[in-house]
């Protein structure tokens, strides 16, 4: 990934930290000459459209009125905000030429007390800095592909020596190496999020991790959790931190060496448990190897190992999982439970480009799926079970209400995806807008157990008599329920209305989308060349039995709607 760094100060150190960071993706960094922020933003990025830009400025370096405030002058607050608007507009114009723009929020670059008790008065820099930051973030939020990073946290992380005066005098960088390093870490985390490299599940141990003590020995009544005990309080806080993650769409699962019944009794009965069974996407509580348990659980949940973070207080278990499953992130873990919650909240692997309604409901979806699987055991055949589910599929045009979730699905799905396309919202909008023969749809699935949410995306490009599927993406939650066939039925039906003669699907195989390739190979489409599947529209495509399909689009209406989105 190419990264272009724009700054009014010497930010070369941050550029070097980004370049030297071992986490994926590897980055090639170019730093613009410092002090030429507006000139640089007015020009073309050196790496072209597929690059990331990082804009890190001091407020006094780009907002003249604020510089005058620092000099003790009385300033015009409205003029200051107009300058912020102009800066935001320059960034937005620049952002149209690049994949992703990251902008550091403004922090005070000088030490000292300012106006002391008047800092938050109308002449105080703290007051104006806060106003300027809100104005900047609000303005940039209107544009896609621009994210404001919280620079105040970098200063906090670096501690008391975050702004060594000698750094400014010697190399025109107001910040210490620690601040630049924290900035680099956040930039890398945001880049990973933008390309879908986000961890999706935390698998956590129980004894001395989720609570203090050994539940098998002590009984759930005697584990350390809450109560008038600072260590017990720390475990509760750690559980709260885990629960916060579930509200962002990150799942929690248990991997523990214990008797399952004993452990689940503690989870169900202890009055101070924050996490209950319904907060868990799954568990493997037994005496087996934890690495094997993780592999099994990941398979059950239709996730990849690269989605997993494993947390265990025992260094031997951590080493075992790290050694056996290098794709799993196993953070070093503090010895004291007092630091557990902070350690979890400091992890930078859960970054997301957006948080959608589906994210907030994802745990509930896993719980419902567990009930669904339990129910399946009572049926003799898969078809019988499938028919009993009463699957309902809604297909509607991608519009403002669902584009964020649709893009998230396109960018995060690795298994049931035809081309594993990675695309920003701006790129997707402009792709749709560029040709009225392109169309894109969101697929929502529900069944008698509950709503799986927006779990599929399909788009196509029509050219002449062919209608070629571009995106064919389905969340692992909905895989294997004949939703795939229902989408193909929909595509073929619309293709007929559009008077296309052939539907084409060209798969781009990756290490992880074998399920998608396998689906197309058994789909009834003919593989006319390697990984290219075709089907005559005149042959029709049967709708799977037991599924109700509601299409909220007609071919013509869809075209209009999509032009609006674009």
């Amino acid at each position: 990934m190419n990264v272009f760094l724009i700054s009014d100060f010497n930010a070369e150190a941050a550029g070097r930290y980004i370049g030297a960071d071992r986490s994926t993706p590897a980055c090639d960094v170019k730093v613009a000459p410092y002090g030429q922020v507006f000139q640089t933003l007015a020009s073309s990025p050196p790496f072209g459209r597929d690059s990331v830009s990082f804009v890190w400025t001091r407020p006094e370096g780009v907002i003249r009125e604020y510089a005058q405030l620092l000099g003790g002058e009385v300033v015009d607050a409205d003029q200051m905000l107009r300058e912020v608007d102009a800066f935001a507009e320059a960034i937005k114009r620049f952002a149209r030429q690049t994949k992703l723009v990251l902008v550091a929020s403004w922090v005070n670059s000088k030490n000292g007390r300012g106006l002391g008790m008047l800092e938050w008065g109308v002449h105080g820099r703290a007051f104006h800095l806060a106003q300027m930051n809100v104005r900047l973030a609000t303005s940039l939020a209107e544009a896609g592909g621009i994210y404001v990073l919280d620079a105040a946290r970098w200063i906090e992380e670096a501690g008391a020596s975050s702004r060594p005066p000698k750094h400014w005098f010697a190399m025109k960088c107001p910040f210490s190496e620690e601040v630049s390093q924290a900035a680099a870490r956040d930039v890398k985390a945001a880049i990973r999020a933008s390309i879908g490299q986000t961890r999706k599940i935390v698998m956590v141990d129980l004894d001395d991790t989720l609570w203090g003590g050994i539940v098998g020995d002590d009984g759930w009544q005697n584990i350390r959790l809450g109560g008038h005990d600072h260590v017990g309080e720390a475990y509760v806080e750690f559980q709260r931190a885990l629960k916060e993650l579930t509200r962002r769409g990150i799942q929690i699962a248990i991997v523990s060496k214990n008797e399952e019944a004993t452990a689940l009794e503690a989870i169900d009965c202890h009055p101070e448990m924050v996490l209950r069974r319904d907060d868990l996407a799954g568990w493997r509580i037994n005496w087996n190897d934890k690495a094997q348990n993780i592999v099994d659980l990941v398979a059950d949940l239709n996730l990849g190992l690269t989605a997993v973070v494993f947390i265990d207080d025992n260094p031997a278990e951590r080493a075992r999982v790290r050694d056996a499953l290098p794709d799993v992130l196993v953070p070093e873990w503090p010895k004291s439970p007092v630091s557990y919650a902070d350690a979890l909240r400091a992890l930078d692997c859960f970054e997301q480009a957006a948080i959608t309604e589906e994210d907030r409901r994802r745990t509930r979806m896993y719980v419902v799926d567990r009930q669904r699987q339990e129910a399946s055991a009572t049926f003799e055949s898969l078809d019988e079970w499938q028919a009993s589910l009463d699957v309902r599929i809604d297909i509607s045009s991608i519009d403002e209400s669902n584009i964020k979730r649709s893009l998230q699905l396109i960018n995060k799905t690795n298994q049931m995806t035809l081309k594993t396309r990675r695309v920003t919202e701006a790129e997707f909008r402009s792709w749709l807008a560029a040709d009225e023969d392109r169309a894109a749809f969101a697929v929502t699935v529900s069944d008698r157990f509950g709503d799986l949410g927006l779990t599929g995306v399909c788009s196509w490009q029509r050219s002449g008599e062919n209608l070629e599927i571009v995106d064919f993406v389905l969340s692992c939650r909905a895989m294997g329920r004949k939703v795939e066939e229902a989408i193909v039925h929909f595509v073929t039906t619309v293709a007929k209305r559009l008077q296309a003669k052939v539907v084409v699907a060209r798969a781009i195989p990756t290490a992880r989308n074998a399920p998608c390739l396998a689906f197309w190979q058994r789909s009834g489409f003919r593989e006319t060349e390697k990984h290219a599947f075709v089907h005559l529209v005149s042959d029709g495509y049967a709708m799977p039995l037991g599924i109700t399909l509601n299409s909220h689009v007609t071919a013509d209406a869809n075209q209009h709607s999509l032009r609006d989105v674009g």
């Binding site: 070097r16 071992r22 060594p164 390093q181």
Partner: protein, 98 residues
């Protein structure tokens, strides 16, 4: 402070510089490693980073604020010390200066 302690400080500072460098471009922590000048591992930003890191580390370890480049600016070209070991000598000289 003795020579070994001073060398440890230089190595700590090299760690700071190395964090800005790729894995295959790390500066080795040897007393004879050439840091600046002909065949030196550092460019000007690396040089200033090293100097500031040494000064901070000395202040942390012995509680003495020193200026390695007192009166010489921050240019590589005006600096005599080249190896890690010659940086140690400079640190010791600055600490013992009246």
């Amino acid at each position: 402070m003795n020579s070994q302690q001073a060398l440890d400080i230089v190595f700590d500072a090299i760690d700071v510089v190395n964090r800005q460098r790729a894995d295959d471009n790390q500066i080795s922590k040897r007393s004879d490693v050439i840091l600046i000048g002909d065949g030196g591992a550092l460019d000007s930003l690396g040089f200033v980073t090293l100097i500031l890191a040494i000064e901070r580390r000395v202040a942390d370890v012995v509680g003495v604020e020193i200026e390695l480049l007192d009166g010489e600016g921050y240019g590589v070209e005006s600096f005599d010390s080249r190896t890690a070991s010659s940086f140690c000598d400079l640190i010791l000289a600055r600490i013992s200066a009246p």
